[in-house]
């Protein structure tokens, strides 16, 4: 059932450019692919490992800037830029993660939030590298062996391919022995230690993998927008990733993906003005926290349990 709906959704999304030629619809689909992937990366860090990380926003921005600067300033290709995005984000994640994961989870949240805010300030103030508030406009279309991804439908294949790749990798990771260890760390860290497993390398690895996946997503998204400026680090993105994970149910792989596809198209439907959109988002977050603490995934799980109980009688 799950597999069937996953396969049909994959095929349906893959065939999207054949159904519509509207650049707007395909643009929304690109956002859906990238946001879902970034949210799934946050789910690995927060949902599975239990580390609420706001640093994802920083990694997103650094990935975007690294890719854009590789192409525009250092004359590399888009693909090389993505590799740099992943490498730089991994390195930074390890550097910040090492002191941060050893503290308590309260401190972890604050450190990652401070990091995200810092990246925004640096993007704005380090004018000689990032060109400050003016940003870097006119990012060119990616080019693979002479083939140019110059239209929106063609660019969609990059976003779609990356989403499949990253989500596949995350699926493999989450269902493996490592994924189960991460869940164990979230649920009972002293027990994990008692089993002779040191939680620090696992937490660091999850944090770094989440950072790299988010960074590459940011790089692709920057080239979709064709411009990068400090607004790329707007808290709106972090908010989106977090709402997707919360409404989908932290720690539920398919719940988060379903929520990602829905929540990234919903704001487009509800779009009156930029200010209202954020207010609606805030209210949705509040409602989700109070009404559905477990998210969609938690709600489905409860329902399944209830059905199993009813079957017993």
């Amino acid at each position: 059932m799950k597999l069937l709906s996953a396969i049909s959704a994959t095929l349906l999304l893959g065939a999207l450019p054949f159904f519509t030629s509207s650049n707007y619809v395909i643009g929304v689909a690109i956002s859906a692919c990238i946001f879902t992937t970034a949210a799934a990366a946050l789910n690995l860090v927060y949902g599975y490992t239990g580390l609420l990380s706001f640093a994802q926003l920083g990694f997103w921005g650094i990935g975007g800037y690294a890719t854009a600067l590789t192409v525009m300033t250092f004359g590399g290709s888009f693909w090389l830029g993505l590799v740099w995005a992943a490498l730089i984000d991994t390195a930074i994640a390890l550097a910040i993660g090492y002191p941060a994961v050893r503290t308590n989870r309260h401190a972890f949240v604050i450190v990652t939030l401070a990091f995200a805010l810092l990246v925004t300030l640096v993007a704005r103030d380090w004018v000689s590298l990032t060109r400050g508030p003016l940003g870097i406009p006119g990012l060119p279309a990616p080019n693979l062996f002479g083939f140019e991804f110059k239209t929106t439908p063609l660019f969609y294949w990059i976003a779609y391919g990356y989403a499949l790749l990253a989500l596949g990798l995350l699926y493999a990771l989450c269902t493996s022995r490592i994924g189960r260890t991460l869940v164990a760390i979230k649920q009972n860290e002293p027990l994990v230690r008692a089993q002779g497993i040191s939680p620090v390398p696992y937490k660091l690895a999850a944090f770094a993998v989440g950072a790299a996946i988010t960074g590459v997503g940011g790089g692709i998204y920057a080239f979709h927008l064709k411009i990068i400026d400090p607004l790329f680090l707007d808290f709106y993105y972090m908010q989106t990733f977090l709402i997707i994970v919360i409404t989908g149910g932290a720690g539920s792989y398919w719940g988060v993906i379903a929520a990602g596809l829905i929540m990234s198209t919903l704001p487009e439907v509800l779009r009156f003005s930029a200010d209202f959109r954020m207010i609606v988002y805030g209210v949705v977050l509040l409602l989700a926290v109070f009404a559905m603490p477990g998210g969609v995934g938690g709600w489905l799980h409860e329902r399944r349990l209830a059905r199993a109980r009813a079957g017993l009688i």
């Binding site: 927060y46 609420l52 910040i96 090492y98 002191p99 941060a100 050893r102 503290t103 989870r105 309260h106 401190a107 949240v109 604050i110 450190v111 939030l113 401070a114 990091f115 805010l117 810092l118 300030l121 640096v122 103030d125 380090w126 808290f235 908010q239 977090l242 919360i246 932290a250 200010d275 209202f276 954020m278 207010i279 988002y281 805030g282 209210v283 977050l285 509040l286 926290v289 109070f290 603490p293």
Partner: protein
């Protein structure tokens, strides 16, 4: 590099004043964390409400500083009370992630409602003190800064007396140190939590009102300042009130010096680097972590 003594003295004076105001913001965060174990992400927005209340009160009372400050403080204390009664009181202890999401959602809603209602453009605030300053030798400090840091100092003394010598404050410390034991001797955690949030909000509103004439008032002013307040409560040790004040003055000084001699990007980065270094060397903060202490 040639260092001019006057310039250094000027930077030092500015740094101390800035640090005292940072401390006023961060103390509220530490108080809320100590009593409720919640990190209030909407704290920056409370600050911003205080600054806006000051902005709108000043013309109404003919630019008089003190009545406006009192009203702004009261308004924000009331906002804190509402925030607790409507949202925070519904959270059970130990629901750390939910508390973050709730305060984060409130922060986003307040920020964008204010932006929608009063536009995002920054405002300059004039008071009875105008933009005149006090000159000692070659250093010149504006009156609004001097009064602002005076307000902060008085607030710290007040906070010390409240926490140390009143039932109201002792109950807060009791809950912060041992929730169960406090419950056993008849301290009601909900009432104490409500008081703590209102007190923290009042301090934060006062900081916002004092900052309004010193810097530009805009909806995003809270976001920029709260980043430093978060770093401060990490450096000072979570829930440690005097530690936070000491860290804040140190940070204000450092920021002023770094900003005076290097490019502006280093000013922001330095704060973060210090925080990471402190975490690496002393994961519990610079000052011994413990339950809420005042002396």
């Amino acid at each position: 590099m040639e260092v001019d003594a006057t310039y250094l003295a000027q930077l030092t004076a500015n740094g101390i004043i800035l640090g005292l105001l940072y401390a006023l913001i961060a103390v509220g965060l530490a108080l809320i964390f100590g009593v409720l174990e919640i990190i209030n992400f909407a704290h920056g927005e409370l600050l911003m409400i205080g600054a806006y209340a000051m902005t709108f009160m000043l013309p109404a009372v003919g630019l008089l500083y003190w009545p406006s400050l009192a009203v702004a403080t009261a308004v924000v204390a009331l906002c804190g009370l509402l925030m607790y009664e409507l949202f925070l009181s519904r959270l059970r202890p130990g629901e750390f992630e939910r508390s973050i999401l709730v305060t984060l959602a409130l922060s986003i809603i307040i920020l964008h409602v204010v932006q929608y209602a009063f536009s995002a453009s920054p405002r300059i605030v004039d008071t009875q003190y105008g933009f005149d300053g006090w000159t000692i030798g070659a250093i010149r400090v504006t009156w609004t800064r001097i009064v602002g840091s005076g307000v902060a100092l008085v607030a710290f003394v007040f906070l010390y007396v409240v926490l140390k010598h009143t039932r109201f404050g002792r109950a807060m410390r009791a809950v912060a140190q041992n929730r169960e034991a406090a419950l056993m001797v008849g301290v009601e955690p909900k009432v104490v939590a409500r008081n703590a949030v209102a007190l923290a909000a009042a301090l934060c509103g006062m900081a916002g009102a004092a900052l309004a004439p010193i810097q530009l008032v805009s909806p995003i002013m809270g976001q920029a300042l709260i980043f430093k307040a978060f770093a401060l409560i990490i450096i000072g040790g979570l829930g440690n009130v005097p530690g936070v004040i000491a860290a804040a003055v140190g940070l204000g000084l450092m920021e002023s010096w770094v900003g005076g001699f290097f490019e502006i990007v280093w000013q922001e980065t330095a704060v973060f680097v210090v925080m990471i270094a402190v975490l690496l060397l002393r994961p519990d903060g610079l000052f011994k972590q413990g339950t809420m202490r005042v002396g």
